[in-house]
Amino acid sequence: MLGYIIKRALYMVPTLVLTSILIFTLIELPPGDYFESYITELLASGETVDPQKIEFLRQEYGFDLPAYERYFKWAFGLLQGDLGYSFEYQLPVSDVIGDRLWLTIIVTFFTIIFTWAIAFPIGIYSATRQYSWGDYGLTFLGLLGLATPNFLLALVMMYFAKEWFGTSIGGLYDSEYIGQPMSWGKFLSVLEHLWIPVIVIGTSGTAGMIRRVRANLLDELRKPYVTTARAKGMPEFRALMKYPFRMSLNFFIADIGGILPQVISGAEIVAIVLSLQTTGPLLITALQSQDMYLAGSFLMLLAFLTVIGTLISDIALAFLDPRIRLAGGVSR
């Protein structure tokens, strides 16, 4: 097992190097750079730009260097924990991302809990009462959540929250708490705003989760050992929970790999519509304005977490499901 983990950890290195090259190339690919999109933005608002000044800025930020040199500068910076400099914010990237990270984690954490709390009971119910009215009805509700455009739901809910409860529109807390340290009042304000993004983002995830729980559980329920258990008179609930349900969770553990990066990136589009102070909108605007170190470093962070997450879920699966064998004949 230890050998397996070491081997997997070593695989991560070339994967990440490759990812970093890919990210850098993709961000470089569109014509122009941050300064060019900055100029067009100024023009859009009627301002004029001194081309000489832009040229100076390009040199100042090392944009006159060839792409590979800039790549190495960035990559070595990353190795030393330096995420680079954001042109748009005129600040080091770590300062820009810092504050938003924990808010993103809160939103995602609650969203995941919400999704599970809804999806598991419904999934189990639908599997055990396949093709019943309840199954159809609940599945329909889940699919409705998936089919409703998130941004639309977000707008509608924001409007009614304002009309009915007087919740200020957008954001994760009332604006007077911006820049304030955490306090009871701020916490309450976060709770007051949090339910909208949680429901909006959550509803889109539940449908998928319900179907997967249902399908996996159905597979298990048809197996002979369940029949045997029932034949031996095991209570229905215990016969469900003891093995079939636990077996159906395989996919769920495999999902952990995907959850880690999701926790810090959040739902980007919804976050923009809801004006959440999370990292999602940051990434999108950075990509739009070609603020390359902000976008690149953040994507690298996501890539790193994905790789770690995959490793964790593989290890967890190997521990939890004895049927899974480690390849290559390493220690069992």
């Binding site: 014509p31 999109s37 100042e60 005129q90 809801l274």
Partner: protein, 642 residues
């Protein structure tokens, strides 16, 4: 000394944030004129933390003529909430609050503002007189040294100077001669006239020719202790001292809260943040007619939110003064919410030559199309075919005015003939002109054929940002099909849109028209001559002018060359009358030649104003240049009634 000064200022700023209007109710209205300063500042003076008002104001402050500007004397207090869409919008504050060396007032005339006065000799020699006793917001004097620092230690510094001399300070490549006459007088002179100089100083994004020398010197290798400077550079993770210097001195986007300021409010919030608080400058140089120091409002609170929710938030009463990110189609929604959330929605006029204008690319790569675009008959026909009344009714509720892309009636240069030049619908004339231009043949669908036999199909490219453009184009497509021209719209993305137009891949683009449609003859007519690459009707000629012949293409069309010659003549013109004559000629040619095809101008911008906020004009012009959005209406004179 400076550091200790600064500390209490910061403390004061934080104090103001939480005390707001409450104490105001106790001050009887009659004592306001005598007090002459905000109660919060008076208290600091009493406690000995701030020098008395007389020492803070310049000897001769700038007196805002409240009666002439139709304003009432206000009361102190309150905080003005604004919404912005990104950190880049921090720069909007320097536009909104608009204190300049010389600046425009509501009458759009350049007058001394921060300066006490200036003398100009034939636009060649400018002598600036600084107000005696004028101070930065940290209490340090504002003197000729601050001008000298910018010119000698920044522009002429071997390392910082790599940025070069600002364009507006170059006349045919010639740098100004800079002299310090005495501590309160500086002079810039050129051998040829530089009429663009004062305009640049008064611009919404102005040329800053001064810096707070006393503060900046600590970041300059020439003055600072090397070890200490290196330490600061390392702490700020900057690459060099020049990078740090550039970062700390930013005037346009003042995110450095320690940077001394001359504006009415200064930034008191370090970045990054989602809320920036701009605190009152206790040394601000303007007073009202009764001698009360401005600004009236204690602080500006600027929340940065996603621009998608700004209209909704404004409608929910979460902004006291909002026009940015509010579109005309939000108007009905805002109007409905007015009463419930306590605000007014004014409709200001937009100051563009044309709300939506078409730019035939005279530098198109396709030779057949380029020939047509350069044929004035073709351009005139396309303009004549447009039904501007329909556009006005359908898209702008009839509130705009059909016009060619030219100045508006508010401009002293306005003439009916410019507005109506080839802009009154006449299908017969349009058809006749198109026939004459060699597009007489039509196919079975009634679409005209090019001399090469292809269908006359024009693709109009847009930057893909506004649905308004697309809506207008849809109507124009219909109008043009009536004269046998087929139009397609291609929405792309800002950068790509520009790039394609510059390369000549675009046949025609859509964008907003003249930026300054309320111009007077003192302002630059450069928009009507091929002078810069962003001009979508002749980007390559503009690039040629921009780069002084290094790239782009020289103008090879007599009518456009004539405009360029006129522009050059304007630069050298000595008298107002001469300048005016040149402007009139250029306006005439520009509209008669239909270099750009205008639709309607004088359309409306909804401006949401809290019902407590006073002194905001109900009718005004909302535009970037020259009114600096709210700038010339002086937000420092706005005040909150209970």
């Amino acid at each position: 000394m400076f550091a200790s000064n600064w500390k209490w200022l910061r403390g004061f700023a934080a104090g103001v944030v939480f005390t707001l209007v409450a104490p105001l109710g106790l001050v009887p209205a009659g004592t306001q004129a005598l007090a002459g300063e905000a109660p919060e500042l008076a208290k600091l003076v009493e406690e000995g933390k701030l020098p008395p008002l007389a020492e803070r104001l310049p000897k001769h402050p700038f007196v805002v003529d409240m009666a002439a500007e139709n304003k009432e004397i206000g009361k102190y207090g309150g905080s003005l909430k604004l919404l912005m869409g990104s950190v880049k919008d921090l720069g909007q504050i320097t536009v909104y609050t608009y204190a300049r060396l010389v600046g425009y007032g509501p009458d759009i005339e350049i007058k001394p503002d921060i300066l006490e006065s200036y003398d100009s000799v034939d636009d060649k020699e400018f002598t600036f007189h600084i107000r005696e006793g004028h101070k930065w917001n940290d209490g340090q004097p504002f003197t000729a040294e601050d001008f000298r620092y910018f010119w000698e230690d920044m522009v002429k510094d071997p390392e910082l100077g790599r940025e070069g001399v600002p364009q507006e300070m170059l006349v045919d490549g010639e740098e100004p001669k800079f002299e310090v006459i005495d501590p309160l007088t500086v002079r810039y002179s050129w051998s040829k006239p530089n009429p663009a100089f004062l305009i640049a100083l008064a611009a919404p994004a102005p040329l800053y020719i001064y810096r707070p020398a006393h503060y900046m010197k600590q970041f300059h290798a020439k003055y600072a202790d090397k070890a200490k400077l290196d330490e600061m550079v390392a702490a700020a993770k900057a690459d060099s001292w020049t990078a740090l210097h550039t970062r700390m001195q930013r005037q346009r986007r003042p995110e450095n809260p320690d940077l001394p300021s001359l504006q009415a409010w200064y930034n008191s919030t370090p970045s990054p943040s989602e809320r920036y608080v701009w605190a009152r400058n206790p040394y601000f140089h303007r007073v009202d007619t009764d001698g009360n120091q401005l600004p009236y409002i204690n602080e500006i609170v600027m929340d940065i939110v996603s621009d998608e929710v700004i209209a909704a938030k404004t409608g929910g009463g979460e902004s006291d003064l909002q026009a940015r990110y509010i579109r005309f189609d939000n108007f009905t929604f805002l109007k409905e919410a007015e009463e419930k959330h306590g605000f007014h929605t004014y409709l200001w006029s937009t100051g563009k030559g044309s709300q939506v204008a078409l730019f035939p690319n005279l530098n198109a790569q396709d030779t057949v199309w380029r020939g047509l675009m350069r044929d004035v008959r073709f351009r005139r026909a396309l303009s004549l075919a447009i039904d501007r009344d329909e556009i006005n009714e359908v898209i702008y509720f009839g509130l705009a005015s059909p016009s060619a892309n030219t100045v508006m009636p508010e401009s002293p240069l306005f003439k009916e003939e410019y507005k109506d030049a080839w802009s009154v619908r006449d299908l017969d004339k349009a058809n006749q002109l198109l026939d004459e231009a060699g597009l007489g043949a039509r196919d079975s669908d009634g679409v005209r054929l090019l001399p090469t036999g292809q269908r006359a199909e024009i693709t109009v490219e847009s930057s893909g940002e506004s649905t308004e453009e697309t809506d207008v184009l849809e109507l124009i497509a219909d109008h043009w099909s009536q004269v046998g021209i087929k139009m397609f719209v291609r929405a792309s993305q800002r950068d790509i849109f520009r790039r394609r137009a510059y390369n000549g891949e675009t046949l025609m683009s859509v964008f907003s028209g003249m930026d300054n449609a309320i111009a007077n003859s003192e302002m630059s007519p450069q928009e009507m001559a091929p002078t810069s690459q962003p001009q979508l009707q002749w980007p390559k000629w503009g690039e040629y002018h921009d780069s002084k012949g290094k790239s782009g293409e020289p103008v090879d069309m007599p009518e456009a060359q004539a405009q360029l010659d006129r522009y050059n003549a304007w630069l050298l013109a000595g008298t107002k009358a001469e300048k005016r004559a040149i402007w009139q000629e250029m306006l005439h040619t520009y509209t008669d030649q239909v270099f750009t095809i205008g639709t309607v101008n004088n359309s409306r911008q909804p401006v949401v104003v809290s019902s407590k906020l006073r002194n905001v004009p109900e009718e005004a012009i909302y535009t970037w240049d020259p009114t600096a959005f709210f700038g010339v209406y002086r937000p420092d004179t706005f005040w909150f009634a209970e």
